[in-house]
Symmetry: C2
Subunit: 459 residues, 2 copies
């Protein structure tokens, strides 16, 4: 198609597109907090209308035991491949709220960046796919491929209901390739297609001591303190270099070829700049692996939160009744989340301090994912990026998890193409999340082009 | 005097006394929280009026750089000794609020126990001294001794301004004995005079990592996590049996004589009952010391709180920017709080994990305290208890700290008598603090009798 025409269309409609996106971002659809249940519903309804407005058909909100899935399609490209677009309309919590420069659900553009929770992860990126379809239908009256959208509301809580939904709707979700924009680029102006993601295994550890909080002066020294107990457990998980001490943790880690590691080493990664960006004096982690490798090809165990005792202003000499901690592991092929959680349980059991009871609850689970980076669907995405960004595309892995990716791979048996437009500096999951609008503008063109590229894929 | 007359007086006025005490307890005078500044002032004003109503003279509120001290006296027992009564009108914070059966500042009597924050520690016990003086002045028109009250508003935050106040008012505070009711009895119906208290040394540890919260998937494994770092530091403080691993921590601990330890062993202490009361399966602590000894004659290090990362419902895969913890040590003679804090700092410096900065702030400090248990002022207190409770008085030490006791000892050079009426089960510093009214009723009589006993002390 005439890319100039497409370009003009996106320029003409830019302000309207941004206003629409802001409306989407104003909905505080935090999936992990029950008080936002209604906002989740609002998010799904907003999306359904947006898909219909774009010209998609059969738009509907499918209930699940958790948050609903939004579906829509356009299936009039007879004999052509079908692209399944996945995204999510739920977002992360926003605390600590006081660190946001503007409120998380009151979107603001500053310095060509759109600030709001979800701006990048993943409302902004999902929205681009809708607008690309709308553009092509407006300009051409048709799409070069068949297309299906499946947009869920539970990604940030580990997509507990989507695998069953996908299994139950296998026929309807039949496609030739899955496209997901929920990952990042290599850096500003440096497009990347991601062919591997880490998996996830999360637990909560609850330590219980005396039945009520005690005065630490009267009982300290004679009654085990749950805070000491949890500190001991947490400290036992890793050595001083971050090597995980859980028995058998690394057993199933697939070796990574020298060739692949050489490709990672060749990426323009500026460690000193990264450290300045993060505000750290020194990086950290397993000896023998680079910063990139530690986050892409090595599994991790990170404490995400600890609570217990008094945390207000001043001092309170309490020996608290309980303490708890949330932990998530990132997994690499071929680690299995259930196996890792069993190993974490065994570790805690073996390291349980005296005088307390310890309870472990499973949280999120997601398998790691890997597609050969020379797959045609992946290479086609690389070409679309190059046309717009005018630089070679990097083929990368990523440290984060999109748990559903492995499920798509397993249930539908399709290649998954991760075309991300986020930047690592965009604070997703943290205060002041934002989205660089340069990548919003370019991304609309990349996605539109990819639909033409996908038309040539083998059915 | 005629003790029957006194008894009748307390019986007749019981309801009125309780209503007055409830009014005192309704003032949320939490010293550690700045938002309660006005309530502290209210508490001081209420006390001044109550002292005046009792017949005390020269009542006044003395400002300090922190919360005010309330003073009053009655000095008409010419040639007789002077008793200095110390108490505090500030209280501990009340969180977690949801664990209170009735609101902390809405006093309720259930099962002859008065429930409210401060009911036992220390508003209830301080109030008894005021009412004992009021009773004697009402019945006899005079007291058998001279008496001075000094009631502070910063005990729960370590009495930062009282030592200087005492030093600057040495002449005015001249006395022959100091009486403090801010400790506990041996058990229900088992009076105790305490002759030793542990000291206190508190610090806060703040660990800082990256400048903002990070996504644990994207950065986990390559950036040090402040929560892991703080867990490592905290776990390094003690071994699995609670023996403190800080270099030189036990250096200045005075040996305790076999005779004294035999007396402790002879106390009726029921470990199994204690464990049931506390809801623990097993006790904990240094080998070679009993439960009682671990809390009375051995120093401790207890974590009072840890915060950092996400603690809401569900999961948030964050690698947080910071983590912090509050810690207090209980000290025994002759450990020095400043020396111990220096040793804690050195320990943290030596155990600082890679990749983070660690900052330590001093908190409360209080020296340990010890008076010979055969001192006449102590023995006299034992007799007053026995007359009312009709059982022998135990002479004990205590695990808690009343930091000002050591300062009184040091600055005024007076014997300190700790006549407590609390019970260990009364949840002070915890939800559902209460005061057994049996000890309120008996305590009024013990305190009144002690003023007659004190009249015979050598001036």
């Amino acid at each position: 198609m005439d890319m100039q025409k497409l370009d003009d269309y996106f320029k003409t409609n830019r302000q309207e597109h941004l206003e629409e996106l802001k409306a989407f971002l104003r909905i505080p659809s935090i999936s992990s907090l029950t008080e936002h249940q209604k906002d989740i519903q609002k998010g799904a309804e907003w999306l359904k209308k947006s898909l219909e407005k774009a010209g998609l058909e059969n738009a509907r909100i499918d209930e699940t035991p958790g948050h609903p899935v939004v579906y829509a399609d356009w299936l009039h490209a007879e004999g052509k491949p079908t692209v399944l677009v996945y995204g999510h309309y739920d977002v992360q919590p926003v605390d600590p709220l006081h660190l946001w420069e503007t409120p998380p659900f009151d979107p603001h553009v500053r310095d060509n960046k759109l600030y709001a929770r979800g701006a990048s992860d993943d409302k902004g990126q999902t929205f681009m796919h809708i607008k690309a379809v709308e553009a092509l239908l407006q300009l051409n009256g048709e799409l070069p491929v068949n297309i299906k959208f499946i947009i869920e509301g539970e990604e940030e809580i580990g997509s507990p209901n989507l695998p069953l939904y996908v299994e139950q709707n296998q026929d309807q979700l039949k496609a030739d390739v899955i496209v997901i924009s929920d990952t990042g680029m290599q850096g500003p102006g440096r497009p990347a297609v991601c062919y591997g993601l880490r998996g996830l295994a999360g637990i909560q550890i609850d330590v219980k001591g005396p039945k009520g909080d005690l005065h630490s002066g009267l009982y300290g020294g004679a009654v085990q303190n749950p805070l000491h107990a949890i500190a001991e457990i947490l400290a036992s998980f890793r050595d001083k270099e971050g090597v995980i001490q859980v028995d058998g943790f690394y057993d199933d880690v697939l070796p990574v070829s020298d060739e692949e590691r050489e490709e990672f080493a060749a990426l323009e990664f500026d460690l000193e700049q990264e450290k300045r960006d993060l505000g750290i004096e020194e990086d950290f982690g397993e000896k023998g692996y680079s910063f990139v490798e530690r986050t892409w090809i090595r599994p991790t165990l990170e404490v995400n939160g600890i609570t217990g005792g008094f945390s207000g202003e001043g001092i309170k000499t309490v020996l608290p009744s309980e303490a708890s901690s949330k932990i998530t592991c990132r997994l690499v092929p071929n680690q299995d989340p259930d196996d890792i959680i069993a190993k974490l349980r065994a570790h805690v059991e073996a390291h349980k301090p005296a005088g307390v009871t310890v309870n472990i609850t499973d949280f999120d689970k997601g398998k790691p994912f890997l597609t050969p980076y020379d797959h045609p669907a992946i290479q086609a995405a690389g070409r679309s990026y190059e046309k717009v960004y005018q630089v070679p595309t990097a083929f990368t892995r990523m440290g984060g998890s999109v748990p559903i990716v492995a499920a798509f791979d397993e249930i539908l048996g399709l290649p998954v193409v991760l075309m991300g437009f986020g930047l690592a500096s965009e604070n997703f999951h943290a205060p002041n999340e934002h989205f660089h609008l340069e990548n919003f503008d370019k991304g609309l063109r990349v996605i539109s082009d990819y639909l033409f590229e996908a038309a040539n894929l083998k059915k």
